[in-house]
Symmetry: C2
Subunit: 103 residues, 2 copies
DNA sequence: TCAAAATGCAACTAGGAGGTTGCACATGAA
DNA sequence: TTCATGTGCAACCTCCTAGTTGCATTTTGA
């Protein structure tokens, strides 16, 4: 799948969105901590984390008994840029239409 | 589902992403035109359009025999703002960490 | 008027997503 | 050592998604 679509897809779930939000607030933490209070089992949460990792939104780094989860802001940046580019093209189109009408 | 997650989810598919891109380039057009060259049937494409419409990314406006598809940039704006806010919080966290180290 | 075009609706299918549970395994702490 | 903790792996289930096809309906244009 197109990399950008995969990023959006990964963000397109309330649980995963919550996980990303927690990471922007609290920085890195373990899988277990990040999985608490989401309404799903640890294994369920783990699958969501894998989706985020596959989309490069997070990094999973084993450290001893734990696995540290950390945000990778690069994917967020890519998503934001993509949307900004869409908006830019849309605005340009509207401008062109406006000029056409005024002539 | 959280509205923002629904927007991301709608964008999280290569076909739907392509549709949105076409709309930012070409402005409004009919369902049939927008469904061409995507590798799926018209009905398949129609379902994708419904997903985009449910997320308020596009508007479907019947006009005579046709249905005009038009982009709703408000949902794009919402998505972009959401990501920007995540980035802002992430940066703030890094800054706080940095200050902590320097003290 | 009549045919073609654009669309809607419904039924059906295959596959993947999201969820669970159970168990094994490595690691850290008492 | 011993036991609790944090993870991983695998099997399984259910439901939604993405896709199809067939047919009916409305509108346009010749």
């Amino acid at each position: 799948m197109m990399a950008t679509a995969e990023i959006f897809r990964a963000l397109g779930d309330p649980i995963r969105l919550e996980m990303v939000q927690r990471l922007t607030k609290g920085g890195r933490c373990t899988i277990t901590v990040l999985s608490e209070g989401l309404g799903v089992s640890r294994q369920g949460a783990r699958k969501h984390l894998q989706v985020l990792a596959d989309a490069s939104l997070i990094a999973l780094r084993p450290q001893g008994r734990d696995v540290l989860v950390s945000l990778d802001p690069e994917a967020l940046l890519q998503a934001r840029r993509f949307i900004a580019e869409l908006e830019r093209r849309w605005d340009a189109r509207l401008e062109a239409l406006k000029r056409l009408v005024e002539e």
